[in-house]
């Protein structure tokens, strides 16, 4: 069956940042340059072709954009300036929107203004909510302990509720991702055992980003890993030790020690990334979608306010600490609620999942009698 | 080792000789049995040349010209065609197998056709074995058909 070409898809992807893909003339240089492109997955060229031809379903069902870590080698050596790296990035944005069943993601990527508006609204709502809540039950001059403006156990409860919502939203999106990429693929048969056997891939890739390290340039991997681990540390601290985190004014080194390290990591890497994007210092910083800026700014804001409330609390400026806490929450809530399921941050789920799915796919397709896999091409006699 | 016949080819300068050259530039391999003699036009091929060739030990004779209608000299090859009919009868009279003599058309662009022609002709003559002068032929020579035009008889063979 022939698939109908959709000449408009390329316009759509342009909104997601794929401005230069039109220039590609398919020399294949990018795929051959990419250290990940190999036996079972050959990219980025093929995905770029799907995009140029508007083969929406092919593009939706591919895992390839998630296998790319954007080292930028391909873009550097592209003879036409087609920016394959950035195109893959844009496809990841587009895929995020496709996995998202609510359509919010698509709205945000296509119209960053809408995202900004949503963030501001949600922030104001959060701020208002927390101020009203704080005033209703606590004292603005108390940061922790009894009568705290924002008591840790309540915030804790709030955090866990929010986490529940996030997991639900992201979970549905992840299932959709599974359906598109594996579930609906009739050409392979995946046994439950295989799913189980490969499950280790998810935490492995989540924690180590080990594939990223195979890129020729290792620095981006290191930066990304620091950011990722810092964030994870912070997440654990907040989700499980919030009480001890907020406790003070004395320093609880067992908790705060980790907190300091994580905060340093977060602030350091976000500033590095922002600086890089401003100066376009590295290939993967050359092109910035509006959502990239929003994400980084939010993350920096949240980290800085987190550190600030901690410092103010230690310094005895309880009122200021509480106010900054509110601002902190005004950053945290939109960041988590909007970025995690609908925008850039969803990739922390999709990427390890993609590694998992690709490993499954690879093994499952080994069972299928494959066409000629030999390295030497058949003579192309007409 | 099989018998390798020697064939004398009369090729017109404009089409067939060029076609044979084209077979060369295109490296179309063929049997090495043909010995080409260039004439300006296939119409130049005097029947005595053919007789002379057989008399001198050729196992076959191939005459090639431009395709009918394409002659560089407008209609020289038509004249060849008419003359060829006569020649065939002469061959018959001499008792020469008619497969040993062939007239065909090769244009300047038909290198491949030329190569095929040489191969075909060689393969056809091979089973016939070396050409032997029949008595009739010798009589013919005695009659002076060939003698008349043979130049200075004192030429020694290399």
């Amino acid at each position: 069956m022939a698939i109908r070409a959709n000449p408009h898809l390329i316009d759509e992807l342009e909104l997601y940042g794929a401005q230069d893909v039109v220039k590609c003339y398919h020399c294949g240089n990018c795929s051959a340059t990419c250290p990940f492109s190999g036996d079972s997955y050959v990219f980025p060229r093929k995905s770029m072709r799907y995009l140029q031809l508007g083969l929406e379903s092919c593009l939706r069902d591919t895992l390839e954009p998630w296998l790319c870590y954007y080292c930028g080698e391909c873009s550097d050596e592209c003879p036409r300036g087609a920016e394959p790296g950035e195109t893959m990035m844009s496809m990841r944005r587009w895929l995020t929107a496709r996995y998202d069943f609510t359509g919010i993601s698509a709205l945000f990527y296509r119209s960053p203004k809408a995202e900004l508006l949503a963030i501001v609204l949600l922030a104001l709502l959060t701020g208002l909510g927390f101020v009203l809540f704080g005033l209703s039950q606590g004292d603005l001059a108390v940061y922790s302990g009894d009568g705290a403006f924002l008591p840790a156990e309540k915030v804790h409860l709030f955090d866990w509720t929010m986490a529940g919502v996030l997991v639900l939203l992201l979970g549905i999106n992840c299932i959709r991702m599974w359906w598109f990429t594996i579930g609906s693929d009739r050409s392979i048969r995946v046994t439950p055992l295989l799913y189980l056997k490969q499950l280790f891939q998810v935490p492995l890739h989540f924690m180590t980003q080990k594939r990223y390290r195979d890129c020729d340039r290792q620095r981006p991997w290191a930066i990304h890993l620091v950011l990722m681990l810092s964030y994870l540390t912070m997440l654990i601290l907040i989700m499980f030790f919030l009480h001890r985190v907020q406790h003070g004014p004395g320093i609880d080194w067992w908790v705060h020690g980790f907190g300091y390290a994580a905060a340093l990591g977060l602030i350091g890497t976000t500033i590095y990334a922002l600086r890089g994007r401003l100066k376009q210092s590295e290939p993967h910083y050359k092109h910035s979608h509006e959502t990239d800026w929003i994400f980084l700014v939010l993350l920096l804001l949240v980290s800085v306010t987190g550190v600030a409330q901690h410092a103010l609390h230690r310094g005895g400026f309880e009122v200021a600490a509480n106010l900054v806490y509110v601002v902190h929450m005004m950053g945290v809530v939109p960041m988590l609620l909007l970025e995690v399921p609908f925008s850039k941050w969803s990739h922390m789920a999709y990427r390890p999942l993609a590694m998992y799915f690709s490993a499954i796919h690879e093994r499952a397709s080994l069972n299928v009698p494959a066409d000629d896999q030999s390295k030497t091409p058949a003579p192309q006699v007409a | 080792m099989g018998f390798e016949p020697t064939i004398v080819g009369f090729l017109c300068n404009w089409c067939s000789y060029t076609g044979a050259d084209l077979a060369g530039t295109a490296r179309i391999k063929h049997r090495p049995n043909l010995r080409v003699i260039r004439v300006m036009c296939s119409g130049r091929v005097d029947p005595t040349f053919v007789v002379k060739a057989f008399a001198s030990g050729a196992d076959g004779v191939l005459i090639c010209g431009c395709h009918p209608g394409d002659c560089h000299y407008l209609e020289g090859n038509y004249k060849t065609l008419r003359r060829f009919e006569l020649l065939k009868r002469l061959m018959l009279a001499y008792g020469i197998d008619e497969r040993r003599l062939r007239l065909d058309w090769v244009s300047a662009s038909e290198g491949e056709r030329f190569a095929r022609l040489v191969d075909e002709m060689t393969e056809k003559i091979q089973p016939l074995g070396p050409f032997e002068l029949g008595p009739a032929f010798q009589n013919g020579t005695d009659l002076g058909l060939v003698e008349g035009i043979t130049p200075t008889p004192e030429v020694s063979h290399g």
Partner: protein, 609 residues
Amino acid sequence: MSSTNRVGVFFCRAGAGRLPGFDFAEVADFAERLPEVITVEDLGDQPNLAAQDLVSTIQRHALDRIVIGGGSPGYFKPVFTRAMAEAGGDPDEVRLASFGELFAAGVDDPMATARAITACAVNGIPFRLAATPDRVPVNPETLVIGGGVAGIETALRIASAGYRVHMVERSATIGGHMAMFDKTFPTLDCAACILTPKMVSVGQHELIDILNCSEVTAVSGSPGDYKVTVERQAQRVDPESCIACHACRDVCPTRVDSEFDEGIISRKAIYMAFPQAIPNTYVVDGDNCRYVRSDGEKCGACVKKCPKDAIDLDRTKSTKELQVGNVVVATGFETFDAARIDRYGYGQLPNVLTSLEFERLTNASGPTGGKIVTRVPSYNKRKKTEEWVFDPEGPEPDSVAIIHCVGSRDQNYNPYCSRVCCMYSLKFAHLVKEKLPGATCYQFYIDMRAFGKGYEEFFERIKDEGVFVIRGRSAKIDHRYGKMIIKGEDVVHDRIMEIPVDMVLLAVGLEPAHGTNRLAEVLGIHPGPDGWFTELNYNSDPTSTNRAGVHVAGVCQGPKDIPDTVAQASAVAARVLGSVISGSIQTQPATVSLEEISRQAARLADASV
């Protein structure tokens, strides 16, 4: 056509990259004052124009002729034509005032030319028709710069008509790159068989003077009568006396890389580029000669050895003044420096060769006598180092990969297509298959550009010979376990190829010869953005330049294969002969008066009625 046209002039700046520093306002101002012009609009650099807006503009002003001005106004013509048709006007009355072409070629007063072009378009007459050239007397002698196949062809054509030609060649021999080639595509006849007889004819022709080891340093004068200064390196071997006996070469102690053999073997400091060189005499490479470098202190062995006393190492460079009517520039090309792309490993990996190196390797008169072998390590006693050399008895490669578009079609290097690489790569594949029937041969290409007579047939034949053609540009060459691994994507079969090969041939593209810019300055002509000389008009005058009597032939105008080069070189000869036979040369008019335009327009209108 009545003389009361209602003309609208529209300026489109988009794509004005061809017009650096162009003052649109000035031309617009000029256009406004032309009698028939009703409206002048500057449409800025919007790339897309809405037909509906244009229709209403046309109807509002009741325009019956439209002139689009700009660098490449043709890009906007269809929408104007459509608008004109929809507005009920005559679609043929959409005229172009294209400034780009003359700008690129370079004219003395570009704004005056732009005004004239606009006025011509407003009057509905092509600029080239209105601008009738003047004729000035011409000196019948011609200077040909460059002794490659283009220069040779031009010189022979002119000389065979009975006119004198001076041929200036930078290197020691004429013949250029073609003399280095083994076979030529697609007929595979040997380059030497075609070229050397022509070289012989040039050398023997009494009307052709060859000035080898010479360069043009200054040109003055006006069209039809140019004074040219040629600087000639010291002629240390008297060409009249030299009998090419090699005695001098045998005693010369200095070895340098042979330019003719692309450095894969060496030559002496006194040398003849190749045995068939024209002029067929030895020359001294002053930069490397031990005697010259030491100011006569050392060596001088060749002088004593010469049986004809033809060598005088103390001679110095000389200059020569020539008076000519026409100058033909045929300076050709040099190949892209493959070392610029480090992932191909050229210069590091001994068996990565450029196309010219392979031409020499496979050439019967080359260093291996035409045997295709790989380089092997060998101890150089003189330099006391290990180096990789071609040994005629060395190992033959089992597999050869050919990478197309090296340095071409790549915005990081040269964005243009070099036009000949596809075909010569196919030729290489054939030579490999012919000489090493057991070898495997791979071609990595992007688009197969087999466009000439018999080329596509040649491509088919190469495929039938069992050459693997892989669509996909190879990205890199790794070196593992003593083999080179070439990595590329086979984009048609969607797989990554990692093929171990013994030899890689880089189909390097063409670049303007060094010194092109300086020569352009000396001659007052213009190299384009890619560095090739700009012709006066791409379509109708592909061999003339903005300076009357200065012509471009062959690759220096843009990459070309041999048949196209020969055709273009003969075309230049036609221009030269046309002028010398008629005794006068046409100047290139850059402007034309308004009176002349209206006079011509009236004539044209009468003619077409």
